[in-house]
């Protein structure tokens, strides 16, 4: 197996250039699939036979929830790569994931509770998914807090990478324990979200919305990571050449 692409991706100038090329593609594709998903979800999809029009929150809630998990997975993967291969670019990507992941976790919580009000009759229910989403928000905030508390970038990168990896081992345990805890205390079965069998007219907009969120996430992370790379490498020669300063 040829690993040169991996090492080349780890070289800051190369990453900076490739990311710059990828960003417009991600952004435009995200915008197109987002608009298509929005029209499909808000206008074309039929109302649900149980929840009426209220279920349309699914087109923002589920993608936000998916993204909150995906951002954590991306962050932990990048952190692990950065820790093992001492790759600065990977740390820059990990650092870029936290803020956006936290904001989408928050979004998933708020849209979930807005959905819960008409469906459960209450804004907050100690539902296992909402509870583990809340714990995940705390994990994100801890990660960002740790990063903010350490002044030295290299130390902040490595310490927060350890935390991200510890968190990624813990997330399944937390999710499982919250599930278990909830099944004991929930006497009656609640209305379940995310029915497995959805007609295509509902499912296709949902998939489009998820695709849009994922591409949007990629674009934002790349923009942020480019900034982080510049900040980490600010004294490097390639930056001076890149920015066209007289040398």
């Amino acid at each position: 197996m040829d690993w040169t692409w991996f090492h080349r991706f780890g070289s800051p100038p190369h990453f900076y250039r490739i990311a710059g090329k990828l960003i417009p593609w991600c952004a435009w594709l995200a915008a197109i699939s987002g608009v298509a998903g929005l029209i499909g979800g808000l206008v074309l999809a039929p109302p649900d036979y149980q929840q009426g029009e209220g279920y349309r929150i699914i087109y923002v809630h589920v993608p936000a929830a998916v993204l909150s998990t995906m951002a954590y997975a991306t962050m932990a993967t990048a952190a692990g790569v950065g820790l093992i291969w001492r790759m600065n670019v990977a740390h820059a990507v990990a650092a870029s994931c936290a803020g956006i992941g936290a904001s989408f976790t928050f979004l998933a919580l708020v849209t979930g509770s807005l959905w819960g009000r008409p469906m459960w009759g209450t804004y907050w229910q100690w539902d296992p998914r909402l509870t583990s989403e809340l714990v995940m928000l705390f994990l994100y905030l801890g990660y960002m807090g740790l990063r903010g508390a350490i002044d030295d970038t290299a130390r902040a990168d490595r310490a927060s990478a350890v935390l991200a990896l510890v968190g990624v081992i813990n997330l399944p345990i937390i999710h499982y324990s919250v599930d278990w805890w909830n099944s004991l205390h929930q006497g009656h079965t609640l209305l379940k979200f995310g029915k497995p069998s959805m007609p295509p007219s509902m499912l296709v907009p949902l998939l489009l919305a998820m695709l849009a969120f994922v591409l949007y996430f990629a674009a934002i992370v790349l923009v942020r990571a480019r900034g982080e790379v510049l900040r980490r490498e600010r004294n490097a020669r390639w930056i001076a050449e890149l920015l066209g300063a007289p040398s």
Binding site: R56, G99, S103, T111, R234, A240, L243, A245
Partner: protein, 57 residues
């Protein structure tokens, strides 16, 4: 149109969700661009001061 906006009586839940999503999306773009821009300006300033004769020691 009004019928659509009413969302079958669910408008107080559906529309705030979508508005908040829009807000989160826009804010993330703004913050990301601002931080990238700041990093670029900082790097540019450093590159220029390094290139200037008195900057070299």
């Amino acid at each position: 149109m009004m019928h659509w906006l009413a969302m079958g009586g669910y408008w107080p839940y559906v529309w705030p969700s979508y508005l908040l999503t829009l807000l989160v999306l826009v804010l993330n773009v703004t913050f990301a661009q601002r931080s990238a821009q700041r990093a670029r300006m900082d790097a540019l300033r450093r590159a220029q001061s390094a290139a200037a004769p008195q900057g070299r020691s």
